[in-house]
Symmetry: C2
Subunit: 301 residues, 2 copies
Amino acid sequence: MHIEFRHLRTIKAIHEAGGLAKAADQLHITQSALSHQVKGLEDQAGVELFVRRSKPLRLSAAGLRLLRLANQVLPQIEATLNDFTGLRDGSSGRMHIAIECHACFEWLFPVLERFRKNWGDVDVDIRPGLAFDALPALMKEDVDLVVSSDPEELAGIEFIELFDYAPVFVASKDHPLAKKDYIDATDFRGETLITYPVERTRLDVFSELLIPAKVEPAVVRQAELTAVILLLVASNRGVSVLPDWVVREVIYSSDYITRPLTKDGITKRLYAAIRSDERDKPYMQELIKLARIEARKLQEA
Amino acid sequence: MHIEFRHLRTIKAIHEAGGLAKAADQLHITQSALSHQVKGLEDQAGVELFVRRSKPLRLSAAGLRLLRLANQVLPQIEATLNDFTGLRDGSSGRMHIAIECHACFEWLFPVLERFRKNWGDVDVDIRPGLAFDALPALMKEDVDLVVSSDPEELAGIEFIELFDYAPVFVASKDHPLAKKDYIDATDFRGETLITYPVERTRLDVFSELLIPAKVEPAVVRQAELTAVILLLVASNRGVSVLPDWVVREVIYSSDYITRPLTKDGITKRLYAAIRSDERDKPYMQELIKLARIEARKLQEA
DNA sequence: TGAAAGTTATGAATTTGTCTCATGAACGTG
DNA sequence: CACGTTCATGAGACAAATTCATAACTTTCA
């Protein structure tokens, strides 16, 4: 036999009730059960837990030691169980986010900043590493939310619409294309295009414009950070295509010009992919709400 | 079902081994048992403990919380069990001492002071309150050692000889009786006798001298503290009879004289009464040894 | 993509352990 | 000393954990 929580509860109850019989009532078991239990414990520990010579059954030195253990340990269990109800009812949980779209940092960061305020018990993280396998990771519960613009039909996964955005052409104000009202695929011929360092199929400018039109820019140069891309564009080292929420920040800067792609502009939609069973968790809903608000703010700026 | 230590050990093992099967080996039970156990736990707690979608069975948020509990709690149990082996093998325990003889503080305190150094795990205390019922208290395990000068035949109790001492007459150097070489019972007639505040039968001067001789002092005055008794004696407010280990400290002081009781002197023997089943405990033996040493030192002083 | 290997889940049977019931023993009290 | 209280004990009832056998699932590798 091993020492178990049951025994700690027993010791504590006997001590507090001041006797087997009363403790037994309190624990809703018989006095006999307690007696057996104590005996078992004593056999196992090899020490007497109670002083039996006197009637009001007092704790021995060893018994007191065990009581101390009980007083340490039982509250810790309580605390754990409480945390569990938190996890169950959704006031705490995990929110590890994978972003397929590089520029999403821009709006996601402020969102998480606000989210953190009200949901301190939720463990928040961004996992940039797995841009590729984001959806498999979501299914495997490696992450809990994926920001994506390509909804797929997947069992147990659903894509929740966040907001629409437009990929927008950005160039230096001195660039020749600044003269045009809108930009077509053919305009990229001979240009240096600056993109995030991901495969082309995952870049709007390629998937929506250049690949269908079978146009290849003169040079494709990659930069990790949005700020760096803008820097390169400003100094006329190339042109780029960025989501409107990014360029909105620079739209009034006299260094840049922005133009729609194609005459009618291109619109894309961003989704939050989550596991269906987490859709109703309150913090999940909250995060999505915050994302929509934040996006609107950025686009209205 | 309740959460039990078993479950904590299980969670910990699964996490460390990285899988049910390996953990099962480690715990010397079958993989099936672990699976059932985890299932039971999850049902009980109402939360998923593991992420099952991926193969190497990872802990979920709740699982991690439980692991934290395990890492807190299991060492505490270990510690308790270790303390128990201490209690079993006698390196720790309780040493609550009742003293029937008031003056015993004088030598007992230094003894306990030294005892404490080597037996820090033993809970030491002096219980002055129960001078009367000291022996019943010993039987009931209210105390563990009684210092007494009256051995009795009691089941489960044995009296271990500590050392011999002599009750000695003390008076001011200016007292008339200072002229005598030894003091008889009749010398107390007309004197003020200062004693500890206990019943006469438990005072050597009465039990050994005055009661047999049917002598009553003029006044019997009581004082709690040895120092106070000596103070009163020094200022010639009365005479007293104290154990030699006490007066040895003042013997060279020019304020006092000490004289033997009766021509041949009276010798008494002090005992440690303990429960027989504790006789062989190492700290018990040590305490008795220290008591003898201390007494010799005091009497040789 | 389809075995093969490895890992976890499940159901029924079995074993183990815990509890209850009935009763006895010990203690304290009037 | 009888009586009420409190704890201990043994046998049987019951509940729970474990095992065995096997299914279901994942991952890996060809």
